[in-house]
């Protein structure tokens, strides 16, 4: 738990430094909303990570994960009758 708190603190410092640098020094070459608004990448990163975790851990895992012996010959012959 202590470790987790330290990790959060470290990551928040990194985010704060990056955000400050972006606000002070960045001159975006492209003009989409995520290039212009400072800190938009933080939202993309955080939400994107949760979307991927949800997709992988909840949907793909539930639909497509099987036991290790799923492809073993015994199973195949059983299916073939």
């Amino acid at each position: 738990m202590q470790n987790k708190k330290r990790m959060y603190l470290l990551l928040l410092i990194v985010i704060a430094v990056a955000l400050t640098a972006e606000i002070l020094f960045a001159h975006p070459h492209h003009h989409m909303i995520w290039n212009v608004i400072p800190g938009a990448d933080i939202i993309i990163g955080f939400l994107g990570a949760w979307i991927l975790i949800f997709l992988a851990k909840k949907i793909i895992s539930a639909l497509f994960q099987r036991e290790q012996d799923y492809y073993d010959d015994r199973g195949g012959e059983h299916h073939a009758g």
Binding site: A26, H30, N35, I42, G45, I53, Y71
Partner: protein, 562 residues
Amino acid sequence: MLDSFMQPGLILIVAGIAALIVPDSVRKVIMIAGPVFTMAAVIFSDEDKLAVMFGLIFSLISLIAAIYNLNVKDRFELAAEAVYAGSSISVVFADSWIGMLIFWEVMAIASWLIVVSSRTEAASKAGFRYLLVHLLGGNLLLAGIVIKLASGSTMIECLTGNADAAYWLILAGVAVNAAIPPLNAWIADAYPESTMGGTVYMGSFTTKVGVYCLIRIFAGSELLLYFGVFMAVWGACMALIENDLRRLFAYHIISQVGYMVASLAIGTPTGIDGASAHAFNHILYKGTLLMCAGAVISATGKRKISELGGLAKKMPVTAYCFLIASMAIAGFPLLNGFVSKSLIMNAAAESGFHWAEILLMIASVGTLMSVTLKVNYFVFFGKCEKDIEVTHVPLNRKVAMIMGACSCIITGILPNIIYSLTPNQIDGHPFTVDHVTQYVQLFAAAAVAFVMYLEHMKPKDKITLDTDWFYRKPLKICINTLSPACDSIRCFVGNKLGDFFTCANEYLHNPRLMLEKWFRVKPAKPRNCLEDDDVLQKPAGWLIAVNFGVLVLLLVFVFANI
């Protein structure tokens, strides 16, 4: 035509064949000298920049992988690896369709030999499936090339804009090698079963040769953009739940090849440069990751993440090389993945494909979580209660891993090395404040999400189904059902035909039987033919008698006239 076959790749092919017959000590020299001479031949060749760039990175990774494999004694595996690398370089340098096709098939066979060279039952089965898929790809390519040749086109050309049969057939053939879904399952099926060194070769060549051919033949085909972006996101998702170390990297190959496919599909000079630069960098960091994974599996005898942990203290060189390469694959600034991803993002933004730009950014987040955070935490740097026994990692393997990690750093700090090699030499301007802060924010925010979900991120000991399910389950059941059905039909038809011929034979031997049966002729009195002189002797006797009479008459007539 002969020029198509006289290329740098031949040096490695000859080195591979020589490795089969020479003694061990000479073989080691040949395995190192082969890639070095090939690299020299590539540098001094007068081919276009794209071919030289791919030839250069192929020969460089052959050299690093050969050093990694110096302790391997199996001469067949080493020969197959050298021939595989040589044929890949030969595909890159081929000018004609025929030259490309021939080396393409050599590549398929050599890579199959690498898969089966670990000599396990699983490898043999996975190798068989691998060979079938690649021969299918080769045949599709052959069919497309035959159509091109019939229309009088012998040299490789860009087909973008066409929509004829040749276009689709060649695209399908190349898509097999580039692992474009749904033709992707062979990669996660076969790569983990190969030998440790073999996986390094395989992770570097087949898919990147596919990408090279896509750049040369299909650059600017917008359809591929959708496939590329899907591959990038989906590969990262699959890697996130994967437990087998090398299977995880197989999915990451799909994800990273997705970036390249998307970039080449954009088709602008920046897009082409992005795809080629990313292929170059990918070979370096993926080679290093696979070498580190191989070192871990060899040293511990375990290949599942759930069985590993806390290895950083026991295998520090491997752990830190892995850390560098895993940061490079995600796209950390000052490492090479960042350099080429900047080009790809620029290409997507300049061409107005903003949805692709966002999704590729999310895929980068997936890469960060599934390799940089997940593997480093659960295999190397996280706490582990288990005491895992670790054997010594040979020096040559450490040297190869360090070479790979250093090349990721050098090309990351000096991006102009890469930009000067690309076909259009476009500068990605990676170290602008907005680029660097974008990636730092993206990764730090994703890391927060990862830490929040840390307890559940450890992969389960399960396998994930892929498109190989279609030919490993339904097709297998289908064949297992159809085969006995076909067999019983064959037996039935065979028996009936047998009966017919037996019956017909009887009638043909004695047609009278037919008359007796059909026209109700009175059956002949049964008799023994051998004892009955009427059957043959009487007519023969009469014939002889008539002939004799004619002869006598002739003689009388002749003498009477004289």
